[in-house]
Structure formats: structure tokens, C-alpha cells
Symmetry: C2
Subunit: 558 residues, 2 copies
């Protein structure tokens, strides 16, 4: 029995467009004699649909489109399509009004809808907001040439509650255990599992563990694509009964893979494995490129603009944008001020040359003078400070938005995670943009990405990598005048934000107490800025996006 994995890239809410892509995968599969086509979780509406699910009309349209899709599909194929199903008993049972489901489409009809049992409600996931948990057995029996194959159907999180693997339970039930008891021939899992660095290693270790524990082969189908802050890396996989990886689809790209289940051997064949990126930098690079490409495309932009300061952050973002959209579709704007060093302009120009992007140079002194004159009656007698520094960043932000508005470019903001953490950035200034490309990339990782980019030839001019970081908003300013060295800052931030360690614990790990306390204070105080930041591409396990929900008006006891 041939089973196809359609690793699809949906547009959220685009029922017709997503259905067409499912249909195309089905047609290709059908020609190749596939019996069962797998698509990702909520493949019809895209994941995550968020509050679109609260719109009854959207739900009705989804079900109509599902019925239409069932009629359009090739007749010889069974297709599992991710969709919601109304829970008609919800008001009687006191439950949520929808199920997160997988519809079995076959012979022109919706034959059945399986329900997701485990509903993630943590980090970026809000599934208890929308869904009732399924509690029925998800066994699908498919016949081919007189043979009945028993398949266990699971949806994403259903697979993530193995207390042996995790050392704890996260949910009361384990759907895999239940399916094993039903003696299914293999399990399919239809996922929309967001990317974070090295997550595929975790997924493969977990799947292998489940396969070996229950002696059941598993096929795992994942969504790919960028949807706002969330990146989906694909990497769909299948494991044989003995724990051998026999299929891996591409990373960060759509794909269609066919595996064959041999009922005699009770196993999958043949082996077809796409390699994973060969280091974390290569992986993050692909993730960010996909994130920019998809955000632009799905929002209707084909061109992007960004400010080039001559610093490393904007250099990296320019390189990512060139790869994502084509260098001819990227405009870098150099906006020197009287505080800009000579090398800034030179370094930015060298970057423009290396990347082959378009550039414009606009010296901002005249606008600075205009603001100074307008504010003179109010500011006279005060000292140059943060207000004046921010004016420069905001003039640049205003110029970039004017260009973006005029020519319908997507403005990309260039701040990194270290800056966003401690608020070393200007709201309505350098934070301006439709997408914050590297706002989940710590500064030290920005350096390592640039060094990796230069592995064969100079992409990022060497001077940009080696010079000390500076915002250049006042004479001779260096980041390290206000912040701890980035190697120390990033380590404190990792412990504080990603590991959720206390100040005491971080100090005990060997960091200077005053520095840790300062960083904790800065992180809390920058919350109002982060709340107004553009969506930022998530690459770590704890990003400042939909999974970060902090109060602003607060007095935090650390």
C-alpha cells in the first residue's frame, strides 16, 4: 500500500488556495498508485488559524470547501485532510464548539472525521481556546487488493505525551498507547509543528522512542512555511518498526514523498532520506529565509526595504532578504548622520556591492536640524540624551516607512533578540517594520551566522563582523558602554528568558550579581517596547511573540 506525504505550505484562511494544493498533491499521488494521501494538521485552513475559528461563517465555509474537495479528488485515493468539525454536543456537555479534526475523504464524500485528543495550550499554542478534546478511538481501516490495513490516526500533539521519553506526563491520556492496544499496522501523525533550533533531532528521537516502545511504524507529516512569527520546517519523516528512519522529506520546502507499506513485512519501504542542514547556522538561515519569503508573499509584497547602518544586524537581514526575495527586489537605505563613523557608510556600501542589492543614501542631518529647531523652545537648557538619540532613529524609521508606503515595499526591521530583550532599540525608530527578521536571534548567533555566511566567499564585509557594535546615535558610542559584553549578556538572557532561572540561580552559575540584576531590570522595563514590535520570526524555544504574554504595568518580584 502506497502512502504519500504532502508537505504543504498553506496560506492561513485561504480555503480555496489550500484546497487546490491538496488536490494537486492528490492528482500526482493518484497517478503513482498511492492509496492514502496524508496532509498536515488543519491543512485546509492552515495552522494556526487563530481567532478565524471564532467566526461561524468561516467554519461553515470550511465545511463547504471540504465537501467540494471530496468531490474533486481522484476516486481511487483516500485523503486525510486537516479541518475543524463542529462539536454539536458542545452546549450540552459544556465544552468548546469545535474539534481539531482530520477528515477522511474518499469516493467523493467526507467518510469520517477523526478528532485530536491532546490540545496544546502553552507557549504559542491556544488550542483550549477553540477545541474540545476528542475521546474516540482513531482507527482507520483501509482496504487494498482485498487486504485490510489498520491505521492509527493522530494529530500533532497526540504524539507528544510519552511519559517514558519525557520523564513526565503532560496530558492524562496517551493516544499512541491506545492505538497500540488496538493493534494498528502503523500510525500516521498529521502535524503543524513549529520550528526551533535543532527541534528535528528531538522529533526524531521521540518518534524512534515511540516506534521502539510500541513496535509500530509511524509516518509523520508536517506543515512547512512561515505564518507570521511561526516557521514550520517540514522534515516529515517515517520510521520502520525497528526504529530505522526510512523517509525524511525536505527541510523548509514543500515536498511530496511516497512510502510503501508492505503488509507481509509489516513495514515501510524504500529508504529515501533528505539530509538535514549540516549545522545550526545553515538550519537557522533556511528558516529565516523561508520566514521572510513567506511573510512577504502571503502579505502580497514582492519587494523589501531596510535601513543599512553598516552594522552587523542590518547586514545579516539584508543577506536574508536577498536570498528570500532576490537581490534585485531588496532596497538598502543608508542614512548617515553627523554621528555616523566613516566606516559605517563604507561598510554598508561594501555590503550592497557584495549582495548586489539596490541602495539609496539619504543623509539625515537636515531633518535632525529641523527637529532640533522645532523642539528648541521646549528642550533648551536640557542636555543631549536619549530623547535626541531616539529622534535620529525615528527620522530613519520615518524615511523608511515613507519609502515603503510610496513603493509598496515591505519594511524589514533589523533588531536582534539581545537588543529586544534589554530594550536597546528605539520604538517607532529602528523597530519599525512589517516583520522583525532576527528579533529571536541572539547577538552572538548573529555573529556566528555571518561567519557561516562567509564560509566560501565574503558576503558580509569582514569589517562589519570585527568592529565593535555601535548604535552611533552619539559621538563614539559603543553598545558595550551601556550593556555587558554580548557573550555575557546572551548567556544571562538565555538563562533568564529561555530557562526561566531566577537571579539567584544565574548568579550561582557564575555571573556577576550586579550585572544579572541590571539585565533583569532592563528586560522588565522593555516590555512596553516589545508589545509594539512587529511579528518576529521564532527560532528559539521562547520568543517574544505570541508565546510571550507579559504584563506591562507591573512590579515584578524577581
Amino acid at each position: 500500500m502506497k502512502i504519500a506525504i504532502a508537505q504543504l505550505n498553506p496560506i492561513i484562511g485561504d480555503l480555496s488556495g489550500n484546497a487546490v494544493n491538496i488536490l494537486k498533491a492528490a492528482e500526482t499521488s493518484s497517478i503513482q498508485g498511492v492509496r492514502l494521501l496524508l496532509t498536515p494538521e488543519l491543512s485546509l485552513c492552515g495552522y494556526p488559524p487563530r481567532d478565524l475559528l471564532l467566526n461561524p461563517n468561516f467554519i461553515a465555509k470550511m465545511l463547504q470547501r471540504l465537501q467540494q474537495l471530496a468531490r474533486e479528488l481522484p476516486q481511487n485515493l483516500a485523503v486525510l485532510v486537516g479541518t475543524v468539525e463542529p462539536n454539536f454536543e458542545a452546549e450540552l456537555q459544556g465544552k468548546k464548539s469545535l474539534f481539531n479534526g482530520i477528515a477522511l475523504l474518499e469516493k467523493g464524500k467526507i467518510q469520517r472525521i477523526f478528532h485530536k485528543h491532546l490540545l496544546p495550550t502553552y507557549d504559542v499554542f491556544d488550542e483550549h481556546r477553540y477545541f474540545s478534546a476528542g475521546d474516540k478511538s482513531n482507527v482507520l481501516i483501509l482496504e487494498e487488493e482485498g487486504q485490510a490495513i489498520k491505521i492509527g490516526v493522530t494529530i500533532c500533539e497526540d504524539l507528544w505525551n510519552d511519559e517514558e521519553f519525557w520523564g513526565k506526563r503532560s496530558y492524562q491520556v496517551n493516544p499512541i498507547e491506545d492505538l497500540a492496544r488496538s493493534q494498528v499496522d502503523f500510525i500516521v501523525n498529521l502535524s503543524a509543528s513549529p520550528y526551533s533550533v535543532s527541534k528535528q533531532n528531538l522529533r526524531e528521537a521521540m518518534l524512534r522512542h515511540c516506534v521502539l516502545r510500541y513496535k509500530i511504524p509511524i509516518i509523520y507529516t508536517n506543515q512547512i512555511g512561515g505564518n507570521d512569527d511561526l516557521l514550520f520546517d517540514g522534515n516529515s519523516i517515517a520510521f520502520n518498526r525497528n526504529g530505522t528512519l526510512i523517509c525524511r522529506a525536505r527541510s523548509f520546502a514543500t515536498d511530496l514523498r511516497i512510502v510503501e507499506f508492505n503488509p507481509e513485512k509489516q513495514d515501510f519501504l524504500p529508504i529515501q532520506i533528505s539530509p538535514l542542514p549540516d549545522c545550526e547556522e545553515a538550519e537557522i538561515w533556511s528558516a529565516l529565509v523561508l520566514g521572510v519569503r513567506d511573510y512577504a508573499r502571503k502579505c502580497g509584497f514582492s519587494q523589501a526595504v531596510l535601513g543599512l547602518s553598516g552594522g552587523i544586524d542590518s547586514a545579516l537581514v539584508a543577506a536574508i532578504a536577498s536570498e528570500a526575495l532576490g537581490s534585485e527586489n531588496v532596497l538598502g537605505v543608508l542614512m548617515p548622520s553627523p554621528y555616523s563613523s566613516e566606516h559605517s557608510l563604507k561598510d554598508a556600501e561594501a555590503l550592497v556591492d557584495n549582495l548586489g542589492i539596490n541602495s539609496e543614501t539619504i543623509a539625515i542631518a537636515e531633518a535632525m536640524t529641523a527637529y532640533d529647531r522645532l523642539l528648541e523652545p521646549l528642550f533648551s537648557g536640557t542636555e543631549f540624551g536619549v530623547a535626541e538619540e531616539n529622534i535620529q532613529a525615528r527620522i530613519r524609521g520615518n524615511l523608511l516607512m515613507a519609502i515603503a508606503n510610496k513603493f509598496n515595499y515591505l519594511l524589514l526591521s533589523t533588531g536582534n533578540k539581545s537588543e529586544m530583550s534589554v530594550g536597546y532599540c528605539t520604538l517607532y525608530g529602528d523597530m519599525n517594520g512589517g516583520l522583525a527578521v532576527i528579533s529571536d536571534v541572539p547577538k552572538m548567533r548573529v555573529f556566528s551566522l555571518c561567519r557561516w555566511l562567509n564560509r566560501e566567499r565574503e558576503v558580509i564585509p569582514q569589517n562589519i563582523i570585527i568592529k565593535p557594535p555601535s548604535a552611533e546615535l552619539k559621538p563614539d558610542q559603543k553598545d558595550q558602554d551601556s550593556l555587558p559584553p554580548y557573550e555575557i549578556l546572551d548567556e544571562i538572557l538565555r538563562q533568564f528568558i529561555e530557562e526561566r532561572y531566577s537571579i539567584e540561580e544565574i548568579v550561582n552559575s557564575g555571573c556577576d550579581r550586579a550585572t544579572v540584576e541590571k539585565v533583569a531590570r532592563l528586560v522588565a522595563r522593555a516590555e512596553f517596547k516589545r508589545r509594539q514590535a512587529p511579528p518576529g520570526l521564532k527560532i528559539t524555544d521562547r520568543a517574544f511573540g505570541t508565546g510571550w504574554r507579559m504584563p506591562i504595568a507591573s512590579r515584578i518580584t524577581n
Copy 2:
């Protein structure tokens, strides 16, 4: 038996400050012979603490502070304090690691912690993200003068699942029913129930229904205060066994009320009812004033700045800010451009006089010229359009932020809900601010609030109310050139956003199809702006804040 209601205004995360306020209420209560003191839900950390709850150190500190509070409290008093409790069985059971609890503090100790049974996970609520649902009976027996009184303890949502009242169940269990079966003498409910227009009528109708259905008196204690976007109105209440309201604490103010339970009559006395605001405008006004006052205070600001355009939105916000912070602490900045009409400046000046606030005038033409000159090489040959309009708004935004940064003022943004819905506002321009004061107030309500403000004397100059709204970003511009008349727009938006009606349904209610389709398109397209908006004070049942979770990169099927 005397029972006190402490209607408290916590600062999120401020364990010590909040504990001190509980202690003060306890001391006052103790002197008056109170046996039981009630405080709101999560009164120790403030509601909603959001992801502070994911920080293990914060949880440990909360429990330490709770123990200390138990020791500090007067010995003759039992106090119910809102706190979390770790669920030590969580990892075995596959549940969340915390309970939302109410600690009984008495005789220097934490005697017991009751758990919340119903965990709201909709709109602004995310309780399944943090909490396990309690499943034990919450009966508290308190003795006084040899008599044992049986009290049912419930937390906020526990009261909101009466299928008779709502016509449906929202949860599988009804804690009130369970307590009625236990034959408690009365029920206490400790809440943090956010404000929306007329919500108190709903609460009182629901409580009365429960009281009459189960023949049990209920005391309801609510939090007050503004926490970011959420406003809590207080209005704590008690109902007698026969459904008579016998106590209502103040609206939008802290309060301490004492009711007495008479074991013979099995009822509360005496009657002490604070009146509700006498119309919706009065109520909304108090809500917004509290929201500004608390956001400023809790973020450490004592002064505010805002732009005065001469229009009605900024006029209303200036009036709210004056009431909240004192007119001497409000700076209105007039920033005329060559497109500003003469009346704009005059109207704004009249407003400044009426309110007695400080003002500055900064003509922005010079900055406009500077930008025009800087952008000339790029923009030459293009027509004046949205890019140029936005530059003006962003110059004003930049000036306001410069003033806010320089003098440590809180910048208030002034956009209304109608504008925010359709994107008739400039990101990084007039949307700038730490708090969006009226971003959940539809334009027609802005008018009615201003007319109400003028009920005794002219606060908002009459011309500001009667002139046609205009952004004045190009010559002779009127809002109604680009948008439907506000009475039509607001009705469509109400149906589309608050009622979640489809385009078809709105058209069937008598609206023009082309207009409805245009509005729906504008609402979807403005999502990227709303994502970067400052927190806005929530006064409706569906605000663009923490309870609005929409994708940006999407293609929505309406």
C-alpha cells in the same frame, strides 16, 4: 458573623505591596469585629499575572509572601487571599503545574487552599495555559460564638456556568450546584472580572438567578483597577436568600464593606448600596479615567502628553487625562501643518482653556520640508499620496515621543475603535503612545461621551463636536471621503467584530453590500497596524487587545 469585602487594586507582580494592602484591610476589619475577610481572585499577585506564572521563582516568592502574610494578620480574623498553589501531582496526572487558589489564612498559618474549578480560556482569558482545574469540594466551616457556619468558596468563573441562566453549559460541572448540595449557609465568590459596558447588570441578574435557584445568599468580591488593557470595575455585591441586593461596593474605586450574616435568619444585613453610574457614558468615563490613572501610576508616570489636533478624539482623551492625572499634569501639543484648518488650532486652544491643561504649539511645516527635500530624489515624479500624509502624522508622533522621552511623560494615543478597525490611522504616527485610551471606543460613542461631558458646562468646545471629522493630512480632507458615515460604519463594525456576523448577515440586516464588503476588507488589511498598537483600554465585549488573536499574513474567506 461579620464578613468584610476588600475591593482591592493590586499591582501585578507586586507581592509585597499587594500584601500590605490586604493587611491594612484586615486591620480595619479586625477592629470592627469582622470574622471573615474576602479579597479578590489572585489578590496577592494581582490579576492577570500572565506569564509571570511560568516563572518558578515567582511562584516560590508568592508562597513565601503568603506565609509571611499569614503571620502578620490579626489573630482573630480569617482571611481568604487569592494565590496560586503548585499542583504537586501535575506530572503524574498530566496536568498543569498550578492551581488558581484561595488560601484561608488564620491563626498565623495557611490553613487550607481552595482551588478554582472552572478555568476560562476565551477572549482575554488564558487559564488553561497555567492552571489545573480543582475538583475537590470547597466548603469552609467557620465558627463564631460556638456556632458553625458553612460557607461555599468559589473563584470568579466558578459562578458563570448556570445552564438555566445562559441557556447552555460552558463547562461540564457547576460548582454552585455542588455547594448547594452540601447545604452551605452562604457562598462567597472571589473575582477578578473585567469591565465592559453594562456588565454589572449582567452580573447582578446572574447572581440573583443563582441565589433564587439555589436559595443560598451570595457575596461577590471583585478586584478594581486598570491592568494594561483590562479594567476592573469593583462593584462587589451581596444578595440575600430572597434575591434582594443588600450590598454594592463602589464602582471603579477601592472599597471595604462589611455585611453581617445572621445565622437565625440565615441571611445578610444591613442594606448598604452604592449607586451605579447613572448612564453608560458616566460608566465608560469612570472606566477610562481609572484606566489612564492606573496605567500611569503602575508604570511610574505622573504626567502625560498628547497631541491635540482640534478633533474630537484628542479632545476626549485630553479630558480623560485631566480627570485622571490632574490638568496640571497634562501637556497638550498642537502641531499644525499647512493643511490644518484655522479652526483646528482655535478649537484646540479653546479645549486647552476649558480643561486648564498645559499646551505647546509646534508648527511642523519645517520638518515636512526637510523630509520632502530628503526624499525628493526618490519621490520625484510621484503624486502626493498616503506616503506624504503619513509623514506628517509621523513627524507629530516623533515630536511627541521626543517630549515624552525628554521629560518622562506618558504619551497617550488618541485613536478610536472605528479608526483602529479600518486602519484609518498612521502606524508610528498618531498610533504612538504607551496607552491607547479610547481605542475600544467607537466613534459614535466618542460623540456621545463628549455630549455627556458637556451636560452642565462646555468642557469640549461645541465646534469640536459639530464639525465634520477630518485627519487634515491633505487639503479639504474629510473622514467621510474615504469612509462610510460613522453611524453606518459603527453599526457594520459592531455586527462584524462584536457579533461576528458574516457579510451576508450584515447585508441582510439592511446594510449596503459594497460598503460591508469594503469594511470587511479594510478590517482584515489593518491587522498589521493593530498588532503594533499600544495596549488599549477595553470597554466592549470584543476589543483589539489580548483577546483578539488574528493572523496577519492570511487570505480570509468571508
